[in-house]
């Protein structure tokens, strides 16, 4: 299923300039194949959504990309700098190293790197489906921990910090400024000195995104960011994600069940079912793909679906949510 072919012949943007390429990713747990031979690209500067019914393997893909699982098979390549950098990537794959920097940028093989190195070097940040904040620490402290690695260097790996070098104090002030900037973006400036566990649910979700952004990521992976948010909070989340995509050099990969969010903000949607990719394209293409509809509605045989009727039903459901004003453009 080549997305390029299905979107009308031209090579899709995410295939010509991908920031992340997942190739033949397979993850088995004992006898269970959670993800089977999955390949997709995440375009630079795109918001890419990974969707699928419950148990389709979306979070497993996330855990493989961010190094929490070691994939059974496959290659996961992360790129800094423009273009596919195919030569550098092939050389890196054959060399056995974990990453390679060149004049064009840098390429990283995430399946070879431990999780903290993926965050630190490949600059892939993530959030969690069940929010994982440092509950007993303040909001500001949460954001400073996200800047651990640069601050560690500034503190001379602790030695300089203990003797009180001024360079560390300057670096810390800059880190606090950066934290304050992100607090402003997620509207949590007032709560900066409160413990993170005291925040309401929606604010905790926003804080987790701000914390991930404080690591200065090139790719931000969000695991169900809109789960448990009310419609107003969801709309704010959409605006925040668009802001991150447009104003920062950050691509976004997100898992989401809320189709309103997915259809409104996604530039590119990849659909999984039973660990296998069943559709790949822009929101409009995926939305009308009968295989996707079949997967979501649980129809066994594709031949039996009356696509037109189901589309009508889907539109009707979508219309009930206020977000579909923007999502339904052109159709």
């Amino acid at each position: 299923m080549d997305a390029a072919a299905e979107t009308g012949g031209a090579v899709a943007r995410w295939d010509s300039d991908p920031v992340l390429t997942v190739e033949h990713l397979t993850m088995r747990f004992g006898g269970l194949t959670a993800v089977g031979d999955l390949s997709f690209n995440v375009g630079r500067g795109d918001i890419t959504a990974l969707i699928g019914p419950n148990g389709a393997g979306k979070t497993t893909v996330f855990n493989c990309v961010t190094g929490f699982y070691k994939p059974t098979e496959g290659r996961i390549a992360m790129r800094h700098g423009p273009g596919r950098q195919q030569a550098a990537l092939d050389a890196l794959t054959n060399s056995g190293a974990r990453w390679r920097r060149s004049a064009e940028g840098a390429v990283f093989l995430l399946e070879r790197m431990p999780d903290h190195e993926i965050a630190h070097r490949a600059k892939v940040a993530r959030t969690f489906q069940n929010i994982r904040l440092f509950g007993g620490m303040t909001v500001l402290e949460n954001l400073l921990i996200a800047q651990h690695n640069p601050l560690m260097v500034a503190s001379g790996f602790t030695v300089g910090g203990i003797i009180g070098l001024p360079s560390y104090r300057k670096a810390e002030a800059e880190a606090i400024d950066r934290a304050a900037y992100w607090l402003e973006q997620v509207r949590l400036t007032e709560r900066a000195d409160d413990p993170a566990a005291d925040l309401p649910y929606g604010a905790q979700r926003r804080l987790e995104i701000a914390r991930a952004m404080c690591t200065g990521p090139r790719l931000l992976c969000l695991d169900e960011p809109a789960a448990g948010l009310n419609p107003r909070e969801s709309a704010e989340l959409n605006a925040l994600l668009k802001y991150i995509r447009d104003e920062h050099d950050t691509s976004v990969l997100l898992i989401e069940h809320d189709m309103g969010v997915v259809m409104e903000i996604s530039d590119h949607v990849v659909v999984l079912d039973y660990g296998v990719k069943i559709s790949d394209g822009d929101a409009a293409f995926v939305r009308s793909d009968p295989r996707v509809i079949a997967a979501y509605l649980g129809v066994e045989d594709e031949e039996e679906i009356d696509v037109a009727e189901i589309k009508q039903d889907v539109d009707q459901v979508a219309r009930r949510t206020p977000r579909s004003d923007a999502a339904g453009d052109g159709r």
Binding site: T66, F68, D115, H116, E117, I118, A119, H120, A125, R126, F128, R132, L133, F134, G135, G136, M137, T138, L140, E141, L144, I145, A146, Q147, H148, N149, L151, M152, S155, T158, G161, I162, G164, Y168, E172, I176, A180, L183, T189, A192, D193, D194, P195, A197, D198, R211, A212, T215, Q316, R319, R320, P322, S324, D325, G328
Partner: protein
């Protein structure tokens, strides 16, 4: 196209049919009215049950006694003791029922409510207590010389002991309180520090000040050696392995006779010098050089200031570390290790630095212990020591520096002070030796404190940084880390 919204029919949530029946059945009041657990009759019934249980168990444990006699065992019966035991259980249980368990207003409830309301004031009080204690610690030897001239040596010696435990508590606080890694074998590093100095002095003729940093480095190295195998362990397993590590070190010291002199220990460990001056009697000693009359108290004062400065350094370094990225990473590790890894923190290195730095301070304290005693043997480094240090940290409040001080004074000073409870023998008669009961009193006091303040005396966490104002964080929000 989205302008015309289809009206969604309001969901009818009222159950119908079988569902309604089932729910009404569940909602129906119980046909058998529950007995009032607060009534006097219930209290007596419960106490009688406890007494019966005591009778059944006591029949074998107290009522019958076997003695070795020629030709086998003989059984003697002690019915009076059994009856007394049953009555004590009955009366005790009844009293607890009436005043705590089965009353609508238990006495302990008021205690707990008072404690909760007093938390912010306690934090402010702790701040002033900290300053007061610091000034007092600064002038402590002279205070005792002036006010209790007869027993000044004893008191300064006790202050040295307490200060050593404060330092050990602060060192362990890095590992347990900040990084949240439960370490039951901390005394191993204390032992490594003590033996490092003793052996360096014996074989290489190094003085205290030369050996001190080396002992710290060696202890830190052993901290790393312990750290590696426990990196992946959590909870109970972490506690067991650290406990085993402490015992391994002690048993090696006990059995490696050629190297450590085994159970005989190492004696003749040199005393510390003051810029090359020995605190000894006669020519060239400290008193002689400064034209003072020789007094053995000088050595105690000197030792006190050494441990005071060492403890102060431990405290200042810990306070500073908390505000550095590594200290924040320790606390983050205690809160959520997976989130740490997703933010690019190398959790392996972070855990190892916590173990190494904690161990280093333990090593310094061990060196000091060796030079103070002049003699060390594996006897001094049993599990009980680890348990006491951990109890100091837990009782004081995990992560709290001032809590460790209070807990050390109460625990170490308290045990010693209980030796002086002679007035109790006037109450209980001449045959009563209160010193025999000090551990019991001490244990009870600890149980009471843990019931009253389960998260330690100072349970609030101070944020390491603030945008506008620092607000204390309640203990219920702060995670305790692994193994608690």
């Amino acid at each position: 196209m989205a302008g015309e919204t289809t009206p969604v029919p309001a969901a009818d949530n009222r159950p119908a049919g079988a569902q309604a029946k089932a729910e009404s059945r569940r909602a129906a009041p119980h046909t058998v009215p529950a007995r009032d657990p607060h009534s006097l009759a219930e209290s007596v019934r419960d106490a009688a049950l406890a007494a019966l249980l005591a009778g059944v168990l006591g029949f074998f444990f107290i009522g019958l006694r076997t003695d070795i006699a020629p030709g086998g065992l003989t059984i003697t019966t002690r019915w009076t003791a059994l009856v007394v035991a049953i009555l004590v259980v009955f009366a005790g249980r009844l009293a607890l029922n009436l005043f705590v368990f089965r009353t609508r207003r238990p006495v302990t409830g008021r205690l707990a409510a008072g404690a909760a309301a007093g938390a912010p004031q306690l934090a402010t009080a702790a701040k002033w207590l900290m300053r007061g204690l610091f000034v007092f610690a600064l002038v402590l030897p002279f205070f005792f010389i002036t006010f209790v001239p007869g027993r000044d040596r004893q008191f300064i010696d006790l202050a040295i002991l307490i200060m050593t435990y404060i330092m050990l508590g602060w060192g362990l606080n890095i590992v347990v309180g900040l990084a949240g890694l439960l370490d039951l074998g901390y005394v191993a590093f204390y032992a490594v520090g003590a033996y490092s100095f003793a052996l360096l002095a014996q074989h290489f003729d190094l003085g205290f000040w030369m050996a001190l940093p080396l002992a710290g480095v060696l202890a830190a190295m052993w901290g790393l050696i312990l750290g590696f195998p426990v990196l992946r362990l959590r909870g109970d397993y972490l506690a067991i392995v650290t406990l085993a590590f402490g015992e391994i070190i002690r048993i090696v010291l006990l059995n490696w006779y050629q190297f450590t002199n085994g159970p005989d220990g190492i004696s003749g460990i040199p005393k510390p010098t003051l810029f090359g001056l020995e605190l000894k009697r006669g020519e060239g000693g400290f008193a002689d050089v400064f034209g003072l009359a020789y007094d053995p108290i000088h050595r105690f004062i000197f030792l006190y200031y050494i441990i005071f400065v060492l403890a102060l350094i431990t405290n200042l370094v810990t306070i500073r570390l908390r505000k550095l990225p590594v200290g924040r990473a320790w606390e983050a590790l205690r809160e959520d290790e997976i989130a740490c890894r997703s933010l690019g923190i190398n959790t392996r290195n972070t855990k190892l630095t916590a173990f190494a730095i904690g161990a280093m301070f333990g090593g310094f304290a061990g060196s000091f212990f060796a030079t103070r005693q002049g003699f060390i043997s594996p006897e001094s480094f049993t599990f009980l020591e680890s348990a006491i240090i951990l109890a100091i940290v837990v009782l004081g409040g995990l992560g709290s520096q001032i809590g460790v001080v209070i807990a050390s004074v109460v625990m170490i000073g308290g045990i010693e002070m209980l030796r002086n409870i002679g007035f109790l023998s006037q109450v209980f008669g001449d045959g009563f030796d209160p010193v025999q009961y000090r551990m019991l009193i001490f244990g009870l006091a600890m149980v009471l404190i843990m019931v009253w303040r389960p998260r330690g005396l100072i349970a609030t966490r101070e944020p390491s940084v603030a945008l506008k104002e620092k607000k204390k964080i309640g203990a219920d929000l702060v995670a305790q880390g692994e193994g608690h």
